[in-house]
């Protein structure tokens, strides 16, 4: 909007004649990460897995900063949930809430 093109700054003097017309000096690359999941909602708390689970959201109102991320966990059945949600779930029922297979962790998000 108001970047002023006339506001010219002296650039650092480097005398080496470049062999190309345009040379890269700096690149700010932007990417977004998301959990590599098939379903983007946690079936247990019904919150998107990219967001912290309900429980963590309620707690994080106080100390949002410095809190551990609310990560995702995948079972052998390839279904995924918030780790917080699943660790409470298996205390009652050691089966995947979606496919009823016995729950065992395949991998954890990091």
């Amino acid at each position: 909007m108001s970047e002023d093109p006339e506001n010219v700054e002296k650039m650092e003097g480097d005398s080496a004649k470049p062999d190309r017309m345009f040379t890269l000096k700096k690149w700010n690359a932007v990417a977004m990460w998301s959990w590599d999941v098939e379903c983007d909602t946690c079936a247990i708390c019904r919150v998107q897995v990219m967001d912290a689970c309900l429980r963590c959201q309620a707690e994080s109102k106080r100390d949002f900063y410095g809190k551990q991320d609310c990560v995702v966990v995948w079972g052998e059945c390839n279904h995924s949930f918030h780790y917080c949600c699943m660790s409470l779930w298996v205390k009652q029922n050691n089966r995947c809430p979606l496919c009823q297979q016995e729950w065992s962790i395949q991998r954890m998000g990091k």
């Binding site: 093109p5 650039m11 890269l24 690149w27 977004m32 998301s34 959990w35 967001d51 900063y65 991998r107």
Partner: protein, 773 residues
């Protein structure tokens, strides 16, 4: 014992007692033996003579009445009013003092008369049995009642008239002895022997007469003042007189006598109400705070008197505010800073008025707030059209104020490195941000602000363009404080966290690779940052493309279970451009980079639009936009890219339009060519593609629909059944920090939820809803 009665008769003792009683009444000296003898005589008579006590009472009564009659004659002998009052007060004071002494010797009478229920009169008994205190003693009551009956009833009118004439004289500015009026009042108060209502005689006679004479006085004076001196002076007059009368009432009336002030208010203010109110609007227009304050003080005394003032204030602020906006429409629709500052100036002006003229009275603050809301949410100067998108048909949603968008723009100017933020001190910026939050309070569609604010924040963070990162985070907390929805504020906070995490990650990446440090990576949480999952294809220059697998490999080692999506439309960088004139550093978007690098292999060639598309693989709209930013960058005297044939807009580029690098490109400063320099060609970083920008406003509406449904279900889940009215009220309360749901939308969403069996209408009452699990 009973047999011995009759040994001492009343008739034997009374001749000795009577002279002492008379002396006491006349306040003549009584010797100690006489005084003691009186006690003893009363005692003996009460003890031995069965009918003694009643006889004492009767004879006492006779003597008292006799004495009072003489006093009356003395008082009435005075012709002149002041002298009459003076005489009366003197007699009364004497008599009243004796009321405290005379009853003492006769105290035994009380119990004696009480014991003999047959001989005592009913009224004496009634008062005697209740309390046996000094104040209520039979003799005292006898004395006061006698005074009341014989002297007071006869001359009270003369007394009152004289007293009122004195008060009148004072009103007319003549000095006199206020003790006279006070003395009369005291006699009225003390005279009363009614224990239930000690003020009875005072209220029914003295106060009534006082009110009457006051009313008569002002009924004559007030209209006269109004016609002679006009309303302005009259208000001052009325205010003064009310204060005067309050002070006077305090002097001459008992505490708690409000009648006279109410009467004054009625006559002085109530009767002139329409004349006073007619002045209200002109005074508000003129900003005459002193006079308005005076008017406020007067009207506040009348029931509902300030209501018309509230209406005047609200309509004036509304119309003045809107007129101001319309008059400055040309500037403010273009310039967020001017708009917000104009608005704030307006707010300050009227808040000042409410403070000075109405002492920040809550009712006036509410009227002010209502008016501010109208001004802020008005759509005559500019409007924001929110379409609903395809899925809801082509319904047109009522246009909304653009205010939240402009507020967000203004915030951006304060928080980004701009000429404005450079000019201001940290405190000034904070003050202005607080002002924005103040205005935001009145905005109905806060969700629009949130969306724009987040977009601006995204740009600042990605371009590293914040003026002060501390202030950025303060602002997030302030938004939380003013009640912005927690999930929204948390996402903003999350964005700052992400930037910090990315900085660490970047440091680690640079340490892990032998490559030069031209790369800076930001890998962000899609949940907090992303707006939809759009993807723009672009064929990156090799220099950039090479980094991608390396970064992905590195990231995979750090994290697992994550997938990355490159947002090249947000990426940007700096390139060095060398031509015959000099060398220039250009800040560019990655898309601009992709286009420009196409010339690296053939610096002097002309490349057609078609070939550029093949080289960059950019979608048509994005390529046109990117090219346009290179051939027609605002304020640039010599453009980087030249083209043929001419076009006046991006859409005019044709397949065979050719582009070439301007080998004479240079920066021009103060009319001089610069051989070196740095220029930013990024402009406003685009956060989304052209297509999704159109969808942006539609998604606001979509989100509102979801929020409304969500809130309705939330309420019903809690209440189980609820009336339509209560539901609407709760709904507005839940949603007001995001937007104001329209009646129409609420109705539509209710119907939708009923149709989808989330809830139903009560069979007996169509206006009651029931939750269905």
């Amino acid at each position: 014992m009973l047999k011995e009665k009759g040994q001492v008769k009343f008739e034997e003792k009374w001749p000795y007692m009577r002279p002492v009683v008379l002396k006491l009444l006349k306040q003549e000296p009584v010797s100690q033996p006489e005084w003691q003898e009186l006690f003893y005589s009363v005692h003996l008579v009460c003890l031995w003579d069965e009918k003694g006590p009643a006889k004492i009472r009767d004879h006492l009564h006779e003597d008292i009445v006799q004495f009072i009659k003489q006093a009356q004659v003395r008082v009435l002998a005075q012709r002149e009013e002041q002298a009459l009052l003076k005489a009366y007060i003197a007699e009364w004071r004497k008599f009243f003092t004796q009321c405290n002494y005379l009853p003492t010797p006769f105290r035994q009478l009380e119990s004696a008369l009480q014991g003999k229920s047959a001989s005592g009169t009913a009224s004496v008994q009634a008062s005697g049995t209740k309390k046996n205190q000094h104040d209520d003693s039979i003799v005292r009551k006898l004395m006061l009642d006698s005074w009341n009956e014989s002297i007071f009833s006869d001359i009270k009118h003369r007394l009152q008239d004289s007293a009122m004439k004195l008060v009148q004289a004072e009103r007319n500015g003549e000095a006199f002895d206020s003790q006279l009026v006070i003395g009369v009042r005291e006699s009225y108060v003390n005279l009363c022997s009614n224990t239930e209502d000690k003020m009875q005689i005072y209220r029914e006679n003295f106060e009534a007469a006082y009110i009457q004479s006051t009313e008569t006085f002002y009924r004559l004076k007030a209209p006269e003042q109004l016609t002679i001196n006009g309303v302005q002076a009259y208000m001052k007059y009325a205010d003064n007189k009310l204060r005067e009368e309050e002070a006077r009432a305090q002097r001459y009336l008992e505490a708690g006598s409000n009648g006279v002030i109410q009467c004054c208010v009625k006559v002085l203010v109530g009767n002139a109400l329409s004349a006073i109110l007619a002045e209200c609007a002109p005074l508000i227009r003129g900003g005459e705070t002193d006079r308005l304050h005076l008017m406020f003080r007067l009207l506040e005394r009348v029931p509902d008197g300030v209501l018309p003032m509230l209406r005047e204030l609200e309509s004036h602020i509304t119309s003045a505010g809107l007129a101001d906006m319309v008059a400055a429409a040309d500037i403010i629709t273009q310039d967020s800073e001017k708009y917000v500052e104009r608005l704030l100036e307006l707010f300050r002006k009227f808040s000042g008025l409410v403070k000075d003229a109405f002492s920040d009275d809550p009712r006036f603050l509410t009227a002010r707030d209502k008016a501010f809301k109208t001004v802020v949410n008005d759509t005559t100067v500019f409007r924001l059209e929110l379409g609903t998108g395809k899925n809801s048909g082509t319904k047109v949603v009522a246009p909304e104020s653009k205010c939240p968008e402009l507020l967000a723009n203004y915030c951006d100017m304060l928080l980004r490195r701009t000429p404005l933020s450079k000019r201001l001190t940290s405190e000034e910026i904070e003050l202005r941000l607080r002002d924005v939050l103040l205005v935001l309070k009145y905005v109905a569609n806060k969700d629009v602000f949130m969306r724009y604010h987040k977009a601006h924040l995204t740009r600042r963070l990605i371009l590293d363009a914040s003026a002060d990162s501390e202030k950025e985070e303060d602002m997030v907390e302030w938004l939380r404080e003013v009640g912005m929805p927690a999930d929204y504020v948390n996402k903003l906070a999350r964005m700052f966290q992400d930037i910090k995490v990315s900085e660490d990650l970047n440091g680690q990446f640079r340490a892990s690779t032998a490559r030069h440090d031209a790369i800076n990576i930001k890998i962000l949480n899609a949940g907090a940052w992303a707006r939809g999952s759009e993807r723009v294809t672009v064929s990156l220059p090799l220099e950039l493309e090479d980094y991608i697998p390396e970064i992905e490999e590195f990231y995979k080692k750090k994290h697992s279970g994550r997938k990355l999506q490159w947002y090249h439309h947000m990426s940007n960088g700096t390139i060095t451009f060398a031509n015959s004139v000099g060398r220039f550093d250009l800040d560019v978007t990655t898309f601009q980079m992709a286009v420009l690098f196409a010339w690296n292999q053939r610096p002097l060639e002309r490349i057609s639009y078609e070939n550029l598309r093949l080289a960059t693989e950019l979608p048509d709209a994005e390529l046109r936009r990117t090219l346009w930013s290179l051939v027609a960058f605002p304020k640039l005297k010599r453009q980087l890219l030249l083209f043929q044939p001419t076009a006046s807009a991006p859409k005019d580029f044709m397949e065979h339009t050719v582009f070439w690098i301007n080998q004479d490109f240079a920066l021009v400063k103060n009319g001089k060519l610069q051989k070196r320099g740095k220029i930013n060609l990024i402009g406003r970083l685009q956060l989304s593609t052209e297509r999704s920008q159109l969808e942006d406003n539609q998604s606001i509406v979509q989100l509102r629909i979801l929020r409304t449904q969500e809130a309705i279900i939330k309420i019903l889940k809690m209440r189980k059944r609820i009336s339509n009215g209560a539901l609407q009220a709760e709904l507005v309360d839940i949603l007001k920090n995001m937007f104001l749901p329209s009646k129409k939308m609420i109705k539509e969403q209710l119907e939708w939820l009923i149709e989808h069996k989330y809830m139903k209408r009560d069979d007996d009452d169509i206006n009651t809803f029931i939750y269905m699990a």
